[in-house]
């Protein structure tokens, strides 16, 4: 097992897994607490349109996906703000249109398409030093944005009305979050593929959200869990010669299901501590 680490592609894969887990921990936390899992899934699938544009116009498909998904994220985010609950149908349509554009453009591109499956199902084992560089820069960007706007994002996530009354630029913060989701999705795409991005984005946050009492801890635990999932998934896929992206997702998904079952037991244990201020009112 350990001898696998002497291969450069394994080292790269391991580093890529940990780097994307950091972005995932941050952005995934805000996706989960803002309940924008659906729209994030839509952004992920629509990103395929960007891949197609990259192939057709012969530039790096990752770059195509990056630009395309940022714009589709902003568009979907704007629709979501404008139409609220009624926006889900149109967002679903945009999701499909994005994918369809990608498929048609790839059809129209002559020649054999290398790596195409990698974008759909992930190719962590072929992550190059260059891609690692891009992932690293995006990571720093997301960490910086999260640190700068932590209080603001937290405020709009918890109680948007209050944030509006305090004159926060709620729209701008929300769209900024959407752009961060898009960036994270493109990073994740290289690890687990577009189809399964949403699982790795949300599972670590969904697990840690059940046990922590503030968002900072949720982010830290999510990042750690993400790193653990990608590392274990990578090891298992190497050992049993399985598709790495799918193995990572299964490790994460099974852990999530176990944690859902375990949570009632955990909460029961916690409930043994009484809330001393339950009778607060009677004091006055």
């Amino acid at each position: 097992m350990i001898e696998a680490l002497q291969f450069e592609f394994m080292q790269n894969a391991l580093v890529a897994g940990i780097l994307v887990s950091i972005a995932c921990g941050i952005v995934g936390t805000f996706v989960v607490i803002n309940r924008i899992v659906f729209i994030s899934g839509a952004i992920a699938h629509a990103a395929y349109g960007g891949i197609g544009i990259g192939y057709f116009f012969q530039f790096n498909p990752v770059l195509g996906a990056l630009v395309f998904s940022v714009f589709s994220a902003l568009g979907m985010g704007w629709l979501q703000r404008k139409f609220k609950e009624r926006a889900d149908t149109i967002i679903g349509v945009m999701w499909s249109i994005g994918m369809a554009i990608g498929i048609i453009l790839i059809d129209l591109t002559p020649g054999y398409k290398t790596d195409l499956m990698g974008y759909l199902f992930g190719s962590i084992l072929t992550v190059s030093k260059d891609s690692l560089g891009i992932i690293f820069i995006l990571d720093i960007l997301i960490v910086l944005l999260a640190m700068l706007f932590y209080e603001e994002i937290l405020a709009i996530s918890f109680d948007e009305t209050f944030a509006i009354i305090r004159n926060l630029p709620v729209e701008a913060i929300y769209l900024g979050l959407m752009a961060a989701v898009a960036l994270t999705i493109v990073m994740l795409m290289q690890v687990v593929g577009l189809i399964m991005v949403i699982a790795l984005l949300t599972i670590p946050a969904a697990i840690s959200g059940q046990y922590v009492k503030n968002i900072k801890l949720m982010i830290i635990f999510s990042s750690l869990l993400g790193s653990i999932f990608t590392t274990i998934g990578l090891a298992l896929s190497y050992r049993f010669n399985l598709t790495s992206g799918a193995t990572i997702i299964l490790v994460a998904g099974i852990t999530y299901l176990i944690s859902l079952g375990w949570k009632p037991i955990f909460l029961k244990f916690q409930d043994n501590t009484p809330h001393p201020k339950d009778n607060l009112g009677k004091k006055n």
């Binding site: 918890f158 009305t161 305090r166 959200g209 009492k213 809330h275 201020k277 607060l280 009112g281």
Partner: protein
């Protein structure tokens, strides 16, 4: 009593509603400093709509609204708002301290922030709960958290939307006495359909059922209430 207290809220001929439907019709309202206004009225009568207009969450269709002599967008920074309930808060991983600290958004110094948050938590007597997760609290405790958050904004006027809905009577009267203490240095507007409970705390009562009936003092009578609710009212006693 020759001193004239300044006007903090001024509403002139306000019409407002949603998508063409009028909910508020020709509302005139003037709230002076240090008043304690209770706004009562039936469900659907426009109480929450009026609050939304005052907070700048919906635009009036007609009329003029001034908050501390300024437009709503500029004046609302002086308003401390306590919502009816905050959706999705129970499962949200956040501590009492962090919720109250949101009241400090847009203000600068971290040192003063901590001071003000501590002070606000002290005023509502829940400083010892500061590290609790919001979901662990009882309804009354959570209501205090939102009052503390509003106080942390250093408001000149506190607006509360049904602050005691779904809270047991004992805790309810405690929240009212807390508001009475705050009213010594702060104007308060409270929305409620719980006429009996608020009557002994408020100074002015307004009845809202699309149209607004305003009463300096508590000289509200059964006749008026019946007209307002458009059905016999026999619950009103202590007014």
């Amino acid at each position: 009593m020759t001193q004239v207290l300044s006007e903090v809220i001024s509403v002139r001929h306000l019409w407002a509603g949603y998508e063409g439907e009028n909910i508020l019709e020709d509302i005139n309202l003037s709230v002076r400093e240090l008043d304690f206004v209770g706004i009562i009225g039936p469900n659907g009568g426009g109480k929450t709509t009026l609050i939304k207009v005052l907070l700048g969450l919906i635009e009036p269709q007609q009329g003029e609204v001034k908050v501390f002599g300024k437009s709503v967008q500029k004046g609302r920074k002086y308003l401390g708002y306590v919502p009816q309930f905050v959706e999705c808060d129970r499962a949200f991983p956040i501590t009492v301290w962090d919720v109250v600290k949101m009241g400090r958004l847009g203000k600068s110094s971290p040192q003063k922030d901590n001071e003000k948050v501590t002070e606000a938590l002290g005023q509502v007597e829940i400083l010892d709960l500061k590290d609790k997760r919001i979901g662990e609290l009882s309804g009354g405790q959570r209501q205090r958290v939102y009052i503390a958050r509003a106080l942390a904004t250093e408001p000149k006027l506190l607006i509360l939307d049904e602050p005691t809905a779904s809270i047991d009577p004992q805790v309810k009267s405690n929240i009212y006495s807390l508001l009475k203490r705050l009213n010594e240095f702060m104007t308060i507007i409270i929305i409620s359909h719980d006429i009996g409970a608020i009557s002994s705390y408020i100074k002015t009562v307004g009845c809202l059922n699309r149209r607004f009936h305003y009463h300096q003092g508590k000289s509200i009578n059964l006749n008026l209430l019946e007209r307002l609710y458009q059905c016999p009212v026999d619950l009103v006693k202590s007014l």
